[in-house]
Symmetry: C2
Subunit: 174 residues, 2 copies
DNA sequence: TCCTTCATGTAACCTGTTACATGATTCC
DNA sequence: GGAATCATGTAACAGGTTACATGAAGGA
C-alpha cells in the first residue's frame, strides 16, 4: 500500500478529537492539519466510506440532514499506530518551489531577483499566519510539533529566497 | 492548466543541457533535478510525445535503437519563460513528514523519541549526500540554487527532529 | 554467446482536482 | 421568504505508480 496518508490523517483526527462526521472532518482539516496535508470533502467522503467497508471505522446512526458519525475501531487504531511507528518515509520529492529554484538560471538576473523577492514576501506572509497561530496556541496542544516544523520551513524558505536574491544581485553588479 | 511541472522540468533540462532523448532525460532527472522533482521514464516518454504534438518540442530523425532526439521550439521556450516569471506557486501542501509530525502526540513518548531519532539520522544521511554534491560542484553550476535549498531543507528537518526528540524526552522525565 | 546498457513504450491502477448536484435546517 | 450553513455525494479528468513488454547494440 502506498498513499495511506489521507487515511492516517482521518484516523488521527478521529482519535485526537473524537468521533465526527465527514463534514466535521473537512472542517478540522482546514483548521488544523491543512498546513501539513490538504484534502477536500470530495476526497474525504469516499475515503470514509471505504474505511468503513474495511472495518477501520464504524458509522453511527444517521443524524439530522443525513449526518453520519464515524468512530475509530480497534483495527483502525492499530493500523494508525503501526503506520506511525513502522513506516519509512522517503517518498520521491515533488516540490514545485525547488523546481523553480532549479530552473532559475534560465532567467535574466533582474527577472530572478524580482521573482525571488516576490517569493520571499509570500513566504513571509504565510509565516506570519503560522506564527500568529503559534501565539494563539501558546506553543502547546495537539498540532504543535507540526506547526513548529511548518514555521521552520517557511523561515528557511524566506531566508533562502532573500539571500539568493542578494547573491544574484551582487554577482550581476560585481 | 494545473500541473505543468513535469513539462517545465523537461523544457528546462532541454534548454540547459541541449537536445536529448527520453532516455537521456530520464538519466538527467536522476542525476540532477531528482531532489527537486522526481519523474520516471514511464511518465517522461508519454509527456514528450504530448509536447511534440503540441509544438513545444520537435523530434529529430530516429537514431540507432529507435532513439529520438527532442529539441525545444520557440513556443516551448516562451512557455517555460512565462511559467517561471508569472506563475504563483501555492499549491496545497501535502507533506507526509509534516503529517507524521502532526500525529506524533498519538504515540507514547518513548516511541516518538525513537522515531524522531531515526528520522534525524535519515535526514542527516541524505544531507551528507547533498553536501558531497555541493563540494563536487564547488557551489556553482546549473543546479546550485536548488541544491542550496535542498541542503537547507534537510538541515532544518534534521534539527527539528533532534530538538523535538530532546523536548519530548525532557518533558517525559522532567 | 551472454550480459549489460541503451531505448522505447503501454496498461491497470490509485490519488487528487474541479465541477456538478442535491437537499435539510437554521437564522434573520 | 430568503440566505447562510450544514451535510452528503458523484463524475470526468489529470497526474503519478507499478508492472509488464519488447528489442537493438555493444562489450566480455
Amino acid at each position: 500500500m502506498r498513499g495511506m496518508s489521507l487515511r492516517m490523517a482521518l484516523l488521527g483526527l478521529l482519535t485526537a478529537s473524537g468521533p465526527a462526521s465527514g463534514y466535521d472532518l473537512t472542517k478540522r482539516f482546514e483548521s488544523s492539519v491543512n498546513h501539513a496535508w490538504h484534502a477536500g470533502h470530495s476526497q474525504i467522503y469516499p475515503e470514509l466510506a471505504k474505511m468503513a467497508a474495511e472495518g477501520l471505522v464504524t458509522v453511527g446512526e444517521e443524524g439530522p440532514r443525513g449526518r453520519k458519525t464515524y468512530t475509530v475501531t480497534e483495527e483502525g487504531s492499530r493500523l494508525l499506530h503501526d503506520w506511525l511507528v513502522t513506516k519509512e518515509n522517503f517518498r520521491p520529492v515533488r516540490d514545485e518551489g525547488a523546481l523553480r529554484a532549479f530552473l532559475l538560471p534560465l532567467l535574466e538576473p533582474e527577472e530572478s531577483v524580482a521573482l525571488l523577492r516576490r517569493e520571499a514576501e509570500a513566504y513571509a506572509a504565510r509565516l506570519a499566519g503560522l506564527e500568529a497561530l503559534w501565539q494563539v496556541k501558546q506553543g502547546s496542544g495537539f498540532g504543535t510539533y507540526a506547526l513548529d516544523l511548518g514555521i521552520r520551513q517557511l523561515r528557511m524558505m524566506r531566508d533562502w529566497a532573500g539571500e539568493t536574491a542578494d547573491r544574484i544581485e551582487h554577482a550581476a553588479r560585481g
